[in-house]
Amino acid sequence: MNGDPGVSFTDLLAELGKLPSWETGPAGDLAAPVGTTVLALRYADGVVMVGDRQATEGHTIAHRRIQKVFPADQYSAIAISGTAGLAIELVRLFQTELEHYEKLEGVRLSLEGKANYLARMVRQQLPLVFQGLVVVPLFCGFDEHEQVGRLYTFDVVGGRYEEQDYAATGSGGREAKSYLKTAYRPDMPEPEALDTAIRALIAAAEEDTATGGPDLQRGILPNVVKVTADGLTEGEDDRIADIARSALEDVR
């Protein structure tokens, strides 16, 4: 690549020869930790995004406290499922990209611009998909122009789809979605939205062996992020623990 990288941090790294890359050999049984269930839903004030904390390697638990839901910037969040190592690097690059753009241009990218950029990043991972290294993100945020929360899903070829109500991905994604199909209603108030999201994650953990539910004994709680007109908030652990406790009791 030759020339000015403009506002793109990825192009700047490529120019410097520092873009992260993974040499692909012949397809084989490459064992790398895989992250499991993440989900997001729209509610009255914006969007809430939840992820479990477990990563598995085959039938083994690789990590119990991995983070899969990340702030992307002040008004958006990204969650990942699939090959954890690739996905976390993708998130780091995406976060830097958004901040880089914001600082150079003096304004944030529009929410749609961020989603499109993420789609491009997923698309560039396509050669790795054929090696069995799949990364599928979920992206949500608050649209500062339209003043609504929005939610996007992606597929392995970089297809980008806007969802109207809820979305889930990862190995327990199907169970989470079937829970949300009955429990979800549009424009829920915040406490109900948080409760529904965490219960959906627990429903997934009940059915899917790879998904780790809240582990109150060890103090392992799901990652929860909310994005509203006031921006992104994360880490209300006391509230999450309370909801998780009562949800687990209802399961019993």
Binding site: P5, F9, L12, L13, L16, K18, R92, L93, T96, E99, H100, K103, L104, G106
Partner: protein, 220 residues
């Protein structure tokens, strides 16, 4: 083949310095000053959209005076330098000192090697968190780098303005007081109507990104 006239190097440097200084003296000044919660940067700037002060990284801000396209190029280079370093290593490895050194090298090289020197002065401010001290670095058109204490100014009438700021310096001042002090220093030195303010802070305890642009500037 044409024979170039011999110009002694002393004369060459002197001419270039004079040229750059003239350009900078025309620019309106910027001051930086420590206050209770961080560092305040304040400039006279009639434009709401063409900024002289901006964010470089988590705890680091940039201010430039002189020719807009030249300090804008430096600002962009600074953001690229910081983001690449922070991404490659870690966020805490990006420091004002490292950036100031890079700017100093760039401006020094341009001063001696290019057709014309950059007509700019640059100020890099870093807010110290967890008990670390704040840093202010000033880099002039020829790459001279100085470590300033407490407060400093760049641009036209920078020396007089630094004096005026020192006379009012109070590291425990509130943000409002620091802004009023800066405004009164400006008024004392420039002796004319101020055509609009631009101000931003690097604020301790405001999360990872300490930079905040001040939208409401009420110093009258």
């Amino acid at each position: 083949m044409s024979m170039p006239f011999y110009v002694p190097p002393e004369q060459l440097v002197k001419d270039r310095a004079e040229y750059a200084r003239k350009g900078i003296a025309r620019g309106r000044a910027i001051v930086a000053v420590e206050y209770a919660d961080g560092v305040l940067l304040m400039a006279e700037n009639p434009s709401d959209t063409l900024h002289k002060i901006s964010e470089i990284y988590d705890r680091i801000a940039f201010a430039g005076v002189g020719k807009y396209n030249e300090f804008e190029a430096l600002r962009v280079a600074g953001i690229r330098h910081a983001d690449v370093k922070g991404y490659t290593y870690g966020r805490t490895d990006v420091t004002a000192k490292g950036l100031a050194n890079a700017f100093s090298q760039t401006l020094g090289t341009i001063f001696t090697h290019e057709m014309k020197p950059y007509e700019v002065e640059v100020l890099i401010a870093e807010v110290g968190v967890n008990g670390a001290p704040n840093h202010l670095y000033k880099i002039t058109y020829d790459g001279t780098l100085t470590d300033e204490q407490g407060t400093c100014a760049i641009g036209g009438q920078a020396e007089a303005l630094t004096e005026a700021m020192r006379a009012r310096f109070d590291p425990s001042a509130s943000l409002e007081a620091a802004m009023r002090n800066a405004a009164s220093a400006f008024r004392e030195v420039v002796e004319r109507e101020i055509e609009g303010w631009e101000a931003a802070v690097l604020e301790r305890g405001a999360g990872r990104r300490c930079f905040r642009r001040l939208e409401q500037i009420d110093v009258d």
